[in-house]
């Protein structure tokens, strides 16, 4: 196009008056020819100004229609020609021989025509700008460019006898199919064709041809493709393979969309793939025989699980299927762990034996073995949790609802073990005494955090407190804790979990120990005429904090124990002195000596040999009786009289001294049973390889409870619970004055749930008792309404 005729300065020529002599038809001929040239790439020969003027004149002479319709006609026949010349050949080639290359050639021809047409239309639009400005507006017709588009659509694609639109769609889909099969296709042709379809508006003027013809068919075919792909894969793929393949498919589809399709197709396609490959088979995939979800979990395939999770996550139904299967599997694994504990529940028990004596050759397990088993359970549980925690972080994106699924499963596992509270406390006890050795600070923190997490899952928190106090008391009194820091850290973590009310007593126990240490120091520092040749360490305990450590002792025996006194001598004097010292500091208090809970390190001389023994305080008192003379021998009865230690307690102490691995005393007769006439003497022939010996009486090893101890614990806890339920109900009713049954039950359970879960029956029972005791009454009008009786 030459602008040679344009005057410098760019002045617009004045309007020339049209003369009737200028023939519109001739004018139009000019345009028509020009259009032919435009299509024929002969633009440089044309004068833009002249053509523009032609159009302009035609419009002014009221021949706009001639121009518009005429041009339209020209374009139509031109396109028609081109189709016949350049395209139909490919169509028939296609129909006889549908291969990758014939499809491609066809598409290519369409694409070429299209881009030429677009280029031409841009020029034509410029030329007929005046037509657009004036005529089109008045006649309410599509603008010239749009008209050109519509013509292309109608002549090339939709002309029914040629069915080109159908062929185009078919071709594109076949290319896609080929690409899916792994063949290489010409993506730029496809890009061009898709651009064309996107540009062309369909006849309804609401959507593009892409949206009406290609997109729906693409989605439908894709759906069918993936549907059958899913079936065939399920027949022979493992879950891992299936899932990885699905992810690969998804990736390649998205890649295709980016390359030559349209974004909204991408979203729809993604849903189709996920739906057909995953959602419709969510459960099947997970349950593939020997190669499903369970195997992935057991074999810790973290990455594959990550892929799987990402595929399932956007699909609500599939996700919940996944979650419920994971939940079930954790439960099952938990059940297997619990099954390994079955021997613990056997009603038979190994004979009550001192841990270091030879185990009787019986089928049942010793307490030590049972304890080891119990510890193993907790350890295994923590390991299991670690595994799932790893999954959570690395495979499941650390999402809240996956976390909740795992939590829920562990809650179920822990609480289905009726001894969980005891076992957890036992485990912590063992850790604080042995397990923390050789662990770094981080590992220690990790262990404690996990333990506290298990505690959070535990329902019977009050039972845990009961056991924890028992174990803690033993640790504190016998000085067996490995790390004070760890102890304190754990208690403060428990406090965070449960509030200070829960840890109040535990902290009290620690305080008592601290104060006792201070006192001991000050007592030691007192000026004395004769320094003591032994160390007296008194732990002063506040009863409210400390647990009942000897529940299985009768009231009678307890009273007798309170009369036990140390044998006269420096020890006794020292004890007296301490008592005085203490009462001076804190008047108005009463000290009750619990010699049954103490232990002593003593040096004993056997002939020429000296040994250091760690014995219980009672045993020390007993041994002191023998120290006066070389030849002392006493009957059990005499020992009992002198020490006031109750008979059955004394029997065990004597057994430990005379019948165990280390025989400090000799007993005649040599039987294990202790009767009051048995004679005891000091065993001067005692020999041992070790210098320092600890008698088993003082074993600090917490063991799992015996059946008897368990039922006592249960009773104590049960009693406490009844009391708590009563208090809660009274508190609630006092505040609300009256309440319906259902509400009262659920309020009560709610208030107590932080410590334990009362059953509705327990609450109902308690309500009944409170009615009997006239705290509550039923309303005469409605039996379900309770009223508070002030």
């Amino acid at each position: 196009m030459s602008f040679a005729n344009k005057r410098p300065g760019g002045r617009i020529l004045p309007v020339r008056r049209l003369t009737p002599q200028v023939d519109p038809q001739k004018q139009f001929e000019k345009l028509a020819t020009a259009i032919g040239d435009i299509y024929g790439h002969k633009i440089s020969q044309l004068s833009y100004e002249e053509l523009y003027r032609t159009g302009y004149n035609l419009v002014l002479s009221k021949n706009g229609a001639l121009a518009y319709d005429g041009v339209k006609g020209v374009i139509e026949s031109h396109l028609d020609n081109c189709v016949h010349k350049n395209i139909l050949g490919h169509v028939s080639a296609l129909r006889t021989n549908p291969t990758l290359s014939t499809y491609e050639a066809f598409l290519w021809s369409v694409r070429v025509l299209w881009s030429e047409h677009v280029t031409a239309m841009l020029v034509i639009r410029d030329v007929l700008m005046y037509v657009d400005k004036v005529y089109v507006k008045d006649a309410q017709l599509p603008a010239v460019y749009d008209m050109g588009m519509n013509v292309f659509r109608d002549q090339v694609l939709l002309a029914s006898h040629k069915r080109l639109c159908v062929e185009v769609t078919k071709s594109v889909l076949s290319q896609i199919s080929s690409e899916r099969r792994g063949e290489q296709v010409n993506r730029s042709v496809l890009r061009g064709v898709v651009d064309m379809l996107v540009e062309l508006q369909d006849t309804d003027r609401l959507r593009t041809v892409y949206e009406t013809s290609l997109n729906p068919q693409l989605l439908a075919e894709s759906r069918a493709y993936y549907q059958s792909l899913a079936k065939s894969r399920l027949a022979d793929h493992s879950a891992a393979a299936y899932v990885l393949a699905a992810q690969a498919d998804l990736d390649s589809e998205m890649d295709r969309v980016d390359a030559y399709l349209v974004p909204f197709t991408g979203t729809a396609l993604r849903s189709v793939v996920l739906e057909e490959l995953i959602d419709n088979h969510a459960s099947e995939i997970l349950t593939i025989d020997d190669a499903g979800l369970i195997e992935l979990l057991d074999q810790r395939k973290v990455e594959v699980l990550g892929v799987l999770y990402n595929l399932y996550a956007p699909l609500p139904k599939a996700l919940s299927t996944l979650q419920s299967r994971i939940y079930q599997h954790i439960l099952k694994t938990g059940q297997q762990l619990a099954a390994s504990l079955a021997p613990l529940e056997s009603k038979q028990e190994g004979p009550q034996q001192l841990p270091e004596s030879k185990p009787a050759a019986s089928q049942t397990l010793t307490m030590a073995a049972k304890t080891t088993m119990a510890l193993r359970w907790t350890q295994d549980l923590l390991l299991l949790y670690d595994i799932y925690d790893e999954f959570l972080r690395k495979s499941f994106g650390d999402t809240a609802d996956m976390r909740q699924t795992i939590y829920d499963a562990f809650i179920e596992v822990i609480n289905s073990n009726s001894r969980a509270a005891e076992l957890l406390s036992l485990f912590i006890d063992d850790s604080l005494k042995n397990g923390l050795k050789r662990k770094s600070e981080q590992e220690v923190e990790h262990l404690l955090d996990r333990s506290v997490l298990m505690f959070r899952f535990l329902q019977n928190k009050d039972a845990f407190e009961h056991y924890y106090k028992l174990h803690l008391a033993k640790r504190l009194l016998l000085g067996r804790s490995l790390s004070d820091d760890a102890e304190q850290s754990l208690v403060s973590k428990l406090k965070v979990e449960c509030g200070s009310q829960f840890t109040f007593k535990l902290e009290g126990m620690f305080k008592d120990m601290q104060l006792s240490a201070d006192l001991a120091q000050r007592f030691k520092d007192i000026d004395r005429s004769e320094p003591l040749d032994f160390d007296l360490n008194v732990s002063v305990l506040t009863p409210t904090f400390w647990p009942q450590m000897t529940p299985s002792i009768s009231e009678e025996d307890k009273r007798e124990m309170n009369t036990v006194k140390p044998p006269p001598g420096p020890l006794c004097d020292s004890i007296e002195a301490f008592a005085q010292f203490y009462l001076q500091q804190r008047s108005g208090r009463r000290l009750t000596w619990q010699y049954n809970m103490g232990n002593a390190d003593i040096k004993l001389q056997f002939g020429s040999r000296t040994y250091e023994l760690n014995v219980s305080t009672y045993q020390m008192f007993i041994l002191m009786l023998f120290s006066a003379d070389d030849d002392v021998s006493m009957t059990a009865a005499e020992i009992q009289q002198q020490t006031h230690i109750p008979e059955n307690v004394l029997a065990r102490q004597l057994q430990s001294l005379a019948c165990g691995k280390h025989r400090i005393l000799t007993k005649s007769p040599m039987s294990r049973e202790v009767s009051s006439t048995d004679l005891f003497t000091f065993n001067y022939n005692f020999k041992s390889a070790q210098y320092r010996i600890r008698l088993p009486m003082v074993s600090a090893k917490a063991t799992i409870e015996t059946e008897k101890e368990k039922s006592e614990s249960m009773a104590a806890i049960g009693l406490e619970r009844q009391y708590l339920i009563e208090a809660a109900i009274v508190r609630i009713m006092k505040a609300r004055k009256q309440m319906m049954h259902e509400q009262l039950v659920s309020e009560t359970i709610n208030q107590l749930s932080a410590r334990f879960l009362p059953t509705p029956k327990m609450v109902k029972d308690t309500i009944g008792r409170l009615i009997d005791r006239d705290y509550l009454q039923r309303s005469p009008d409605d039996l379900r309404l309770y009223k508070y009786l002030a």
């Binding site: 049954h741 039950v745 029956k761 109902k764 009944g768 009997d772 039923r778 039996l783 379900r784």
Partner: protein, 222 residues
């Protein structure tokens, strides 16, 4: 209704505790009313008050033709505002007779029988009687009634309503573990009887029934 054990239990109940002293006192000021006459002939003195004691009460029942095993004696006791089983004070006697509007034996008999008929039509009336029975069956200082008494009495006073019969069987079957019935349980039992379907399908443990009823339903539907 020849339950010998029941009868034994009942007559045991009707026997006054040993410690009370009784002396026959005659010649109190009497009406020419047949019933007042009867009272003064049969009364005894108890801590200065004029009362009819269990043996006297039994004679009254015989005179009225009431079977001691039946419900009539208890309804009679109630209408006479009895203070304990088989024990009626003069004040209560007068009041009761006035309320019933009777002056002679046949009238009294009719009044009692009418009351029993009235129970069917008037649930509130029955409820009052039923509740009072709990107090009669208590051994004064106890807050509860023994299961043994409950077993004996419940079917009778409820004219063998099926729930009470079944419940009595339940108590019998669990006599080792269930020893007493509390007031709340007693009272709720009536509500249960009025409420419960024959197959017990409308019973729910989440409702406000006493927990003993949970066990009862479990036992009955096992």
């Amino acid at each position: 209704m020849a339950g010998t054990k029941r009868r034994a239990a009942k007559s045991q109940a009707l026997k006054p505790p040993q410690s009370k002293r009784r002396t026959k006192v005659s010649g109190m000021a009497a009406d020419n009313n047949e019933l007042q006459k009867w009272f003064s002939e049969n009364q005894e003195s108890e801590d200065g008050r004029a009362v009819i004691m269990p043996e006297g009460f039994e004679r009254l029942c015989e005179a009225l033709g009431f079977d001691m095993d039946g419900i009539e004696p208890m309804v009679l006791l109630w209408r006479l505002n009895g203070v304990e089983l088989g024990t009626v004070e003069h004040e209560g006697w007068e009041k009761g007779l006035n309320e019933m509007g009777v002056r002679d034996m046949p009238g009294l008999k009719r009044a009692v029988e009418n009351t029993i008929i009235e129970f069917k039509r008037n649930p509130e009336l029955f409820k009052a009687f039923y509740r009072k029975m709990f107090d009669y069956l208590r051994q004064d200082k106890q807050k509860s009634v023994t299961a043994e008494y409950a077993v004996a009495v419940l079917p009778v006073i409820t004219s063998n309503m099926w729930v009470f019969e079944r419940f009595a069987e339940f108590l019998k079957a669990n006599e080792d573990t269930i020893k007493t019935i509390s007031r709340d349980q007693w009272q709720s039992l009536l509500a249960l009887a009025r409420n419960l379907r024959p197959d017990m399908s409308n019973y729910s443990k989440d409702d406000a029934w006493p927990t003993m009823f949970d066990d009862f339903v479990d036992w009955a539907t096992a």
